[in-house]
């Protein structure tokens, strides 16, 4: 629709405009003919001139020229003496005819010129609107494929053209074979042409545009800094010859290029962000696991060195002590292996719950008995209500939860401080289990990260796998339970777990 209204406005005069010009002059002459004795031929000439002026408002240039000439001929033939003849017999008629023709032609030229510049103004207004709409729609896009889709729609709408886009390979300086847009326009010759155009353009050699097979023209997409790709467009009638149309077309390509450039850098930044994150996680795993592996190995190796030294191992007391160290180091290694296995079960999604009725009070007693050897001077205070509801749980997992929480508490609180374990039917249809230590607690802003893998509270002591509390949360959540860490008002860290009670 736009195409006809903008681009084909000019000098398109068909036969009907000539007919209109002819009829208008004929009617005016017909009306004036009987009156010419009364109003005089000068007035008739003026009336005919006025008709031409009125015609100039809506006819094209050449029908107007026709009208201007017809006007003089009619005046001469029907009104000037001798009547019904073309020819000048008096010198003043000659001047009158020339003046009439001149006035008619000049006014036609002036009027069409004004109309033309008006049309140009209107056109540029429309182009601006198109460009603006296109820019706005490009502003809203969220991905490269969306850019290509919207660009394609707009090219089709305003130019009736299909487009295909090839983008630069991120790592190598060649054109990636991946294409966007209309796949019907994709062909090997085109790709080869686009590739060579890309190389020319990115090396700074000309690289204007190239026309390939099937009437597809290829244009480089220039982001200010570099050539980011090539757009192939199937043009109905070759590259637009009209200058205005060409400018609009190039503006479209520039907008497409800069939007693509923007999207490409956003995607690159996001990828880099992801990479940085996984890099960090990998470093955390490495340093945490290597520290936790090497420390017990260092202990075992130091113990073996001492055993090998006859001066030490000949003393029974020292031998006994070395064996204790060996045992505890091997427990520590075993604990690490268990944690890693638990974590991989969680992450692989292979965690299956073997649900049984379970009495939390019993379980706490069992865990505490098993951990007697690791207590290292900590005092455990256990308070369990008589009528605690049962929960449905996987006993081995809940046991691991408790073990990890207690180990964590013992590791990060001074020896000799107390650790309290409480349970309650609170709220009524739930069972909550609370472990509270009397250590330094955790700064409030770090509490939310406590259950994250490999998270370490800044400034806390080294050691631990960085997996213990992450496993705790995963296991509790696998039971559809909740876990929360807070600082007790009386100091120390408080970990609260809630499970659904079974009636």
């Amino acid at each position: 629709m736009l195409r006809t209204s903008i681009w084909k406005y000019s000098s398109r005069s068909d036969f009907s405009e000539y007919l209109i010009a002819f009829l208008a002059i004929a009617i005016a002459a017909g009306i004036c003919f009987p009156l010419s004795h009364i109003i005089g031929i000068v007035s008739v000439g003026l009336i005919l001139l006025m008709v031409v002026a009125v015609l100039a408002l809506f006819l094209g240039r050449w029908p107007l020229m026709f009208a201007a000439i017809l006007n003089v001929l009619v005046w001469d033939y029907f009104f000037q003496k001798p009547l019904f003849s073309i020819g000048v017999y008096q010198i003043e008629d000659l001047f009158a005819n020339i003046a009439d023709l001149l006035v008619a032609v000049v006014s036609v030229i002036l009027i069409t010129r004004i109309r033309k510049s008006q049309t140009i103004l209107q056109n540029s207004q429309e182009r601006l609107t198109i460009l603006n709409n296109f820019l706005e729609s490009m502003n809203d896009v969220k991905s490269i494929s969306e850019v290509v889709q919207i660009a394609g729609e707009n090219l089709k709408k305003h130019f009736g053209q299909e487009a295909v886009i090839y983008l630069k390979d991120k790592n190598r300086h060649t054109l990636a074979p991946a294409l966007y847009g209309n796949s019907e326009l994709h062909n090997t010759e085109g790709v080869a042409l686009a590739g060579s155009l890309f190389l020319e353009s990115s090396s700074g050699r000309s690289g204007d545009s190239k026309t390939g097979p099937y009437g597809i023209s290829y244009f480089p997409l220039l982001d200010p800094r570099e050539t980011i790709g090539i757009i192939g467009i199937k043009l109905e009638s070759g590259i637009p010859s009209d200058e205005d149309k060409m400018i609009l077309f190039k503006s479209f390509i520039t907008i497409i290029a800069s939007t693509l450039g923007r999207e490409i850098s956003i995607e690159a930044a996001m990828e880099k962000g992801l990479l940085d994150h996984s890099e960090k996680l990998f470093q955390a795993v490495l340093s945490s696991v290597s520290h936790e592996l090497r420390t017990p190995i260092a202990i075992i190796s130091a113990a073996v060195d001492n055993l090998n030294d006859a001066r030490t191992s000949s003393e029974p007391g020292k031998r006994r002590q070395i064996c204790d160290e060996l045992e505890s180091a091997s427990n520590r290694l075993n604990n690490l292996v268990e944690n890693i296995l638990d974590m991989s079960r969680i992450e692989s999604g292979l965690l299956k719950l073997n649900l049984q009725y379970c009495d939390i009070a019993d379980l706490v007693g069992l865990v505490v008995k098993d951990m007697k050897g690791e207590l290292n001077g900590h005092r455990l205070n256990i308070t369990m209500p008589e009528n605690l509801s049962l929960i449905k749980a996987d006993i081995s997992l809940i046991r691991q939860v408790l073990v990890n929480i207690l180990r964590n508490a013992m590791m990060y609180t001074p020896a000799g401080t107390g650790i309290e374990i409480n349970a309650a039917n609170d709220p009524a249809d739930m069972v909550s289990l609370i472990v509270r230590d009397h250590g330094p607690g955790v700064p409030n802003e770090n509490l939310e990260h406590l259950f994250e893998k490999f998270y370490r509270v800044p400034g806390s002591r080294s050691g631990g796998t960085g997996l213990g509390l992450a496993i705790v949360r995963a296991f509790v959540e696998a039971h559809k339970g909740f876990i929360r860490a807070s600082n007790d008002s009386g100091g120390g860290l408080r970990i609260t777990m809630t499970f659904k009670a079974e009636k």
Binding site: T295, D305, N306, D309, I322, R461, S462
Partner: protein
């Protein structure tokens, strides 16, 4: 065992109780007097109270980084410090050495190696090495007459090679970082001289090693620097 032998005092600063207990056992068996500290704060206190002859310092301490403690100790104390850590990244080691550590041992460590390092550190701090003739393996350097011999045969060293060797002799048994060596010889950062240093070390090895491709005296500490080993003097070479 000699009576009245001086017992050197070793301070262990490590938060792993087991490591402390086992190190104590090893060191006490080898006639050292042992003090322990489990944190940087306790360590600082123990240094001022017990005046250790050598400190074994773990880098991962609960209250502050071992590197920070190292820096604070070096502000007022020249006591030899051997860094003892599971962190085996070279950059951490270089940082520790450049912050004033005398040596480092990575966990798990070998007791014999650790004891050797402790001996070197104490000898240095007491300036027990200042003899005019340095001997290690088949190498003999007379510092007064500037004569270098390998297996009793004189070898000619260039001026740079000799000053390089002298730096190693003055710090015999200690690891020297690339940047330390570079500063000592050229008063310039290592980055400017990395290649040149490598060439000089290779030249020096050709002259002082029995088998330059498998060095025994001037050994590489990968990613950190070089160390001139103190080997038993090779008696069989006299024959």
């Amino acid at each position: 065992m000699e009576k009245n032998k001086i017992k050197y005092k070793v301070l262990i600063i490590d938060d792993e109780a087991q490591i402390r207990r086992l190190l104590r056992m090893t060191l006490e068996t080898n006639e050292y007097k042992v003090f322990e500290a489990a944190s940087a704060k306790e360590g600082m206190l123990a240094v001022t109270m017990n005046h250790p002859d050598v400190i074994l310092l773990d880098l991962g301490l609960p209250d502050e980084s071992g590197l920070t403690l190292l820096g604070r100790l070096r502000e007022w104390s020249a006591v030899p410090i051997i860094v003892l850590t599971v962190q085996d990244s070279e950059s951490v080691m270089i940082e520790a050495l450049d912050s004033g550590a005398d040596d480092y041992v990575t966990k798990p460590f070998n007791a014999g190696e650790l004891l050797a390092r402790i001996r070197v550190a104490i000898r240095h701090s007491l300036r027990m090495d200042e003899s005019p003739v340095f001997r290690s393996g088949g190498l003999e350097v007379d510092i007064n007459s500037r004569v270098t011999r390998l297996n009793k045969e004189e070898v000619k060293l260039t001026a740079t090679e000799y000053s390089l060797l002298l730096i190693f002799i003055r710090n015999a048994g200690k690891v020297l970082t690339h940047s330390f060596i570079s500063r000592e010889i050229w008063s310039a950062p290592y980055a400017d001289n990395a290649q040149i240093l490598r060439v000089h070390i290779a030249q020096l090895r050709k002259k002082i090693e029995n088998e330059p491709s498998v060095p025994e005296l001037l050994i590489t500490e990968p990613g950190v620097g070089y160390r001139l080993k103190i080997l038993p003097v090779a008696e069989q070479q006299l024959l």
